[in-house]
């Protein structure tokens, strides 16, 4: 399944077909109305995510913490941000997903080395 999914994701024709639906979906999901980015919503209670979050630089870490606190407070008080403060599309970039991929590859590499069978020449 994974290779098929990746192939579809990278196919530019498929992407341009999905673009209008993607933008509508993002608007409807509403995370931008709470001032969040997509990468703030990734489930962080895994070792890989914790390591990736640990590798963020200071600016990104501070921004992430602030956005999550603000969104939590808004959720408690059943409010949303005013229109001018919604997350802008250019700010909703993948600041964490590349790190997650890097860390996943590193963990996989470690597992591979730990379980390899070494044969002497």
């Amino acid at each position: 399944m994974e290779p098929i999914a990746r192939a579809l994701q990278n196919n530019s024709a498929f992407r341009s077909m999905c673009k209008p639906f993607a933008n509508t979906w993002v608007k409807l999901s509403g995370y931008r109305r709470l001032g969040l980015r997509y990468d703030d919503l990734l489930r962080e209670e895994t070792p890989i995510m914790q390591e990736a979050i640990g590798r963020l630089n200071r600016k990104e870490t501070d921004g992430r913490v602030y956005r999550q606190k603000r969104a939590f407070q808004l959720s408690l008080s059943h409010q949303e941000l005013p229109y001018t403060q919604w997350t802008k599309p250019e700010d909703d970039y993948k600041y964490l997903q590349p790190l997650v991929e890097e860390v996943t590859a590193e963990f996989a590499e470690r597992d591979a080395f730990n379980s390899m069978a070494v044969t002497r020449k």
């Binding site: 640990g54 590798r55 630089n57 590193e106 590499e109 470690r110 080395f113």
Partner: protein, 431 residues
């Protein structure tokens, strides 16, 4: 393109057989100008072991005020994550190959060395090419490296001997060679990017050399041309400002330890440094014996410690004594050492000269018999940091006599670690 050959016309002071064979090594130049020097093992022909080192002319002497300490960080960034392999993979594969990876920094060069079996050399040349051209210097890695650097700096700072010798360089040379080997507390390096910039300045073919033992020079040059090292920009070696020695300067570090240390150093030609150090002759050559030289006998009879040191760089040399004594006796000890140097070492007898020459011959031969020593000598030859000429024992003896008479009459510099109230001052020592 075929590599061009130049034969290095260099030999040791007191050319012994071991050094002569190393000196006959061809220094080969690759197509983009990287010097490759290797000895195929006349000394260790039957050994299964080889070593290859990547030597970068980016030691602490090239640091500026904006990146003070970058050389120490660059050393600590050896064998870390690159674009194509993680540090974890490099180390695991080295372990599986049975190799040792080392990173060293001196005031002139940073060396990344691999000691491995002969059949693993092509793989490790590729690894060295990778770390030279594609190290990521990632920010999250920088945090780990900074911790290591802080630990090494702290242990250097709290070791009085290291501190005194570092201080003696600063007193003698100020900037350049006087820069500390370690990243000081005040080092402004705080991001991986600073270290990357520092490395990029130095990674041009004129400032990089590949040195090998247990492999033929032409074979190694071919492997280097096939690796990523051949993509390094062509550049010439750096000829910075000439090093200036300032005599009569003293660096004083206060310390409450019961023992005080005092390093007294004279400026000399780099090719004479080792000879003069052995003339001061404090090293014990026989066990249970205090040493035959005047300084050694003085130290043994008076009950303080005196250790000679010598440093040879490409354009300057330092030779001197490190005196260790309880803080109440340091002034007396240093004054006696200074008097002995002026009396017995500056005008040394023939027997002392002969002893010094013989000791140097042995030291050079012993060093060359090790992989590490051969690598050090070859890297100096390859980077053109070695300007010494061949000579016989008689020539060495006469050269040493005249050098000793000259050097130990000049104004020395000093660095003291101990009670600053009872520190002897270098301009009161009679030089």
């Amino acid at each position: 393109m075929l590599p061009s050959k130049l034969f290095a016309k260099v030999a040791a002071p007191v050319a012994g057989r071991g050094y002569a064979s190393v000196a006959k090594t061809a220094v080969v130049s690759t197509s983009n100008g990287i010097k490759v020097a290797a000895t195929a093992g006349e000394i260790d022909a039957d050994s299964q072991l080889a070593s290859i080192s990547l030597v970068i002319n980016a030691g602490s002497r090239y640091e500026t005020a904006e990146n003070a300490g970058a050389a120490h960080y660059l050393k600590a960034f050896g064998f870390r994550n690159t674009q194509s392999r993680t540090s974890f993979r490099t180390i695991r594969e080295a372990e599986l190959n049975g190799a040792m990876l080392t990173a060293e920094a001196t005031r002139e060069n940073i060396t990344y060395r691999v000691q491995c079996f002969k059949d693993a050399v092509p793989y490790f040349v590729e690894v060295l090419g990778d770390i030279a051209t594609a190290t990521k210097f990632a920010e999250h890695e920088f945090r780990d490296v900074a911790k290591l650097v802080a630990l090494e700096s702290l242990s250097a700072r709290t070791n009085p001997v290291t501190r005194a010798l570092d201080g003696v360089h600063q007193a003698a040379f100020r900037g350049g060679l006087g820069n500390s080997l370690y990243a000081l507390e005040s080092s402004p390096v705080s991001t991986g990017n600073t270290v990357r910039q520092y490395a990029l300045e130095a990674l041009s073919s004129g400032r990089v050399a590949v040195v090998g033992t247990g492999i033929d020079a032409n074979e190694l040059a071919k492997l280097v041309s096939e690796s990523k090292l051949s993509t390094l920009a062509s550049g010439s070696a750096v000829t910075g400002a000439a090093t200036k020695f300032s005599g009569g300067v003293q660096q004083i570090y206060d310390s409450a330890a019961p023992l005080s240390h005092y390093a007294l150093a004279f400026s000399c030609e780099p090719q004479n440094a080792q000879l003069l150090g052995n003339l001061l002759g404090t090293q014990r050559r026989l066990k249970w014996n205090s040493g035959a030289s005047a300084l050694a006998r003085l130290a043994a009879s008076e009950g303080f410690g005196a250790d000679a040191f010598s440093f040879a760089y490409s354009d300057a040399g330092l030779v001197g004594v490190l005196v260790t004594a309880p803080s109440t006796q340091i002034k007396d000890a240093v004054e006696k050492v200074a008097a002995t140097i002026q009396k017995d070492v500056a005008g040394a007898a023939t027997e002392a000269i002969q002893r010094a020459v013989a000791a140097t011959k042995l030291d050079v031969a012993e060093e060359l018999a090790t992989q590490r020593g051969a690598q050090r000598v070859l890297s100096q030859i390859a980077l053109g940091q070695n300007a010494i000429t061949a000579e016989t024992t008689e020539e060495a003896a006469s050269k040493l006599t005249s050098a000793a008479a000259k050097v130990f009459k000049t104004k020395p510099v000093a660095a003291s670690v101990g009670l600053s109230q009872s520190t002897p001052y270098v301009d009161t020592l009679g030089f």
